[in-house]
Amino acid sequence: MSSGRAQIFADATEAKGDVIIEVEGVDKFFGDFQALKDINMNVGRQEVVVVIGPSGSGKSTLIRCINRLEKHDRGRIVVDGIELSDDLRSIQEVRRETGMVFQQFNLFPHLTVLENITLAPREVRRMPKKEAEEIAMRMLERVKIPEQAHKYPGQLSGGQQQRVAIARALAMQPKVMLFDEPTSALDPEMIKEVLDVMEELADSGMTMIVVTHEMGFARAVADRVVFMAQGQIVEVGTPEHFFTDPQEERTKLFLSQIL
């Protein structure tokens, strides 16, 4: 999906095509500490944006603001035409449209895999049980573990659990998927199975924002890479740009450390 040509963007608002997520002048404080400083970023429909940056730079905070797991203090966040505000309805609406995958999987350990996946469609979308289970099985096939449907999360490997978490988010048929370091808690031999699923998801046209340190994934899948440091967006470009010709000192330093 990448353009195959190194390109540097003036800023992160130059989304590819029709914009689905707008982040405009967003600040976020934890007490006195400012975790996000004037973030401006747009994401186009079917675009894959990879966010990289050192630990503590605000990557998680940024994507958690997009589905309101954190409340931003200044600026505007609009998801698929819905502006996030204190209005509970708009929050619910955005969360229904947005799937999230966490570093620690966060599966519900007291429910089977199938129940984990059907829960939200049934309780939030009020889908009948049969229909929800059909969708769940389709999603499990998509992440290639339909045979695990009746097990509990604790009986699965880390890689399988993360794939269930992806299926769980997909079952709500979201328009956007947010990934927060989905492979960081995995043993090395399981990382690929999760990245493969994510790559197929990107190929199917899903809009994705992915926080990750997997530069191979970024190179193969990302349309744009966003580099963050100290709560700010420092540099934006295609993967080629980052690998061949990073501009900022901080970017160069970071890339030299992880590559």
Partner: protein, 465 residues
């Protein structure tokens, strides 16, 4: 570290001879050997004295001649048939519950394509052996045929109840409704249907109707309307039936003995659980008023001994209720026990809620679940699972503490002893025998509860982590 933990050869195996068993279990190394040599004679001696008391010297007439008194105390004898009927109906309720539960397990196994784990009668005996032993002891002490007939009737009713497993899957909640209805009926066979007793039945029937008839082939909102109509109809019919057909009974102020102990504790447990859960949730609420009220209540109750609360229930509760409410002594006691237990349940549940990682909340919210459903479906079930042992411990505790009602001059199981020893034949004798008997009675139930809690814990943990 002892030598035995290092040498696998000393571990007992299934094929060892008795001598090898003695060696490996009792004399695995010098230190354990010495311990065995010292303790064994003491144990044998204690067992000898216990056997002497139980089978030779003990004057068990104090128990055998007063068996009915221990079971039902001062309850009017000419109304005894009601208690017999209650036991049979309750056995039916438990049978229906067991049958429905096994049907649910079968459904789950079938859906998952797994083999159904069969339950042998032996495993049931092992689960409830303390209760079975207590019933056998009662039968052994019995001088008439009545107890045998009651037990036979109860077993038969239980078995009939288990036929509920043949109720079709689509009507599964009918099984639970019937079980709950039989529980209520069992209570009302004795208590009668006067006063507000219709409300309990109406709740059971309305909830049962709502959850049994789901109108699944009717479209969305209309199905909800139909369900509500059926529930309301069940409510109204119950009200009409109860006001038209009055069935007088023996109110619980006349109950006593083990019968009273079991009902008072069961009610305190059943009522305190939801109350404690609500208090725990209120204590974590975002509304400060709710938080303060719940914290204040919990801390107030936990700072006062149960016996004080029981006395306050008798003497002070009247001032706090609207004029004209006339609570009986037993109702006051149940209220005090419920409030007391609820405060502790609330603290236990709060601990459970705190033990659930924040990631669970986040995952639920990210899926779009509203806060209420997130708590009800994700957080609370996990929190409760985490605190089962502590919760059941609290319930066992209030069951045993129901013996404090004795001090309020209510003749529950322990209090009946004073009636026995008021009899000319037993004025100064057999105090030890009656105490041992009462202790065995409490133990049988407390131990069964403890075992069930362990079993529940293991079952809910099965297949996890």
């Amino acid at each position: 570290m002892t030598a035995s933990t290092l040498k696998p050869s000393t571990l007992p195996s299934a094929t060892t001879s008795p001598l090898a068993w003695v060696r490996s279990r009792l004399f695995p190394n010098v230190r354990s050997g010495i311990l065995t040599i010292v303790l064994a004679p003491l144990l044998v001696y204690a067992a000898y004295r216990a056997a002497l008391f139980l089978f030779v010297n003990g004057r068990w007439e104090a128990v055998t001649r007063n068996l009915t008194l221990f079971m039902q105390g001062t309850y009017p004898r000419d109304q005894q048939w009601r208690i017999v009927a209650q036991i049979v109906v309750l056995a039916l309720a438990f049978g229906i519950g067991a049958g429905t539960a096994s049907a649910v397990r079968a459904d789950v196994a079938k859906e998952a394509g797994l083999a159904l784990p069969r339950q042998s009668p032996l495993s049931v005996i092992r689960r409830f052996w303390s209760l079975i032993a207590f019933v056998l002891l009662l039968l052994y002490f019995a001088s008439t045929a009545t107890p045998w007939l009651v037990v036979a009737g109860a077993v038969a009713a239980f078995l009939v109840g288990t036929l509920a497993r043949f109720i079709p899957t689509s009507l599964r909640n009918l099984g639970w409704t019937l079980a709950a209805l039989a529980l209520v009926a069992g209570f009302q066979v004795v208590s009668g249907t006067v006063g507000y007793s219709w409300i309990v039945t109406a709740i059971v029937l309305a909830a049962g109707a709502w959850s049994t008839f789901k109108f699944e082939n009717v479209e969305g909102r209309r199905a909800l309307l139909y369900r509500a109509l059926v529930a309301v109809a069940a409510w109204v019919v119950t009200y009409l039936a109860y006001t038209q057909l009055v069935y007088p009974g023996v109110g619980w102020d006349y109950w006593s003995g083990l019968h009273l102990t079991l009902w008072v504790s069961s009610l305190a447990i059943v009522l305190s659980f939801p109350l404690g859960l609500l208090l725990a949730l209120a204590r974590r609420s975002t509304l400060p008023v709710l938080r303060w009220l719940s914290t204040g209540f919990i801390e107030l109750i936990r700072g006062v001994p149960l016996i004080t609360l029981l006395f306050m229930g008798q003497y002070i509760l009247g001032f706090m209720l609207p004029q004209g409410t006339n609570l009986s002594s037993i109702s006051r006691a149940i209220t005090a026990m419920t409030l007391f237990t609820a405060a502790y349940v609330a603290e236990i549940v709060r601990g459970g809620l705190q033990s659930i990682p924040y990631g669970q909340t986040e995952a639920a919210l990210a899926l779009g679940l509203p806060t209420g459903k997130m708590m009800r479906l994700i957080i609370v079930p996990q929190a409760l699972r985490a605190v089962i042992p502590a919760l059941v411990g609290q319930f066992i505790s209030i069951f045993k503490d129901s013996s404090l009602l004795y001090i309020l001059a209510i003749n529950e199981f322990l209090g009946v002893r004073s009636l026995v020893h008021a009899q000319a034949d037993f004025r100064a004798v057999a105090h030890a025998e009656t105490l041992v008997f009462v202790a065995i009675g409490y133990w049988a139930f407390a131990y069964a509860m403890s075992k069930e809690s362990q079993r529940l814990e293991v079952r809910l943990r099965a297949g996890r982590r």
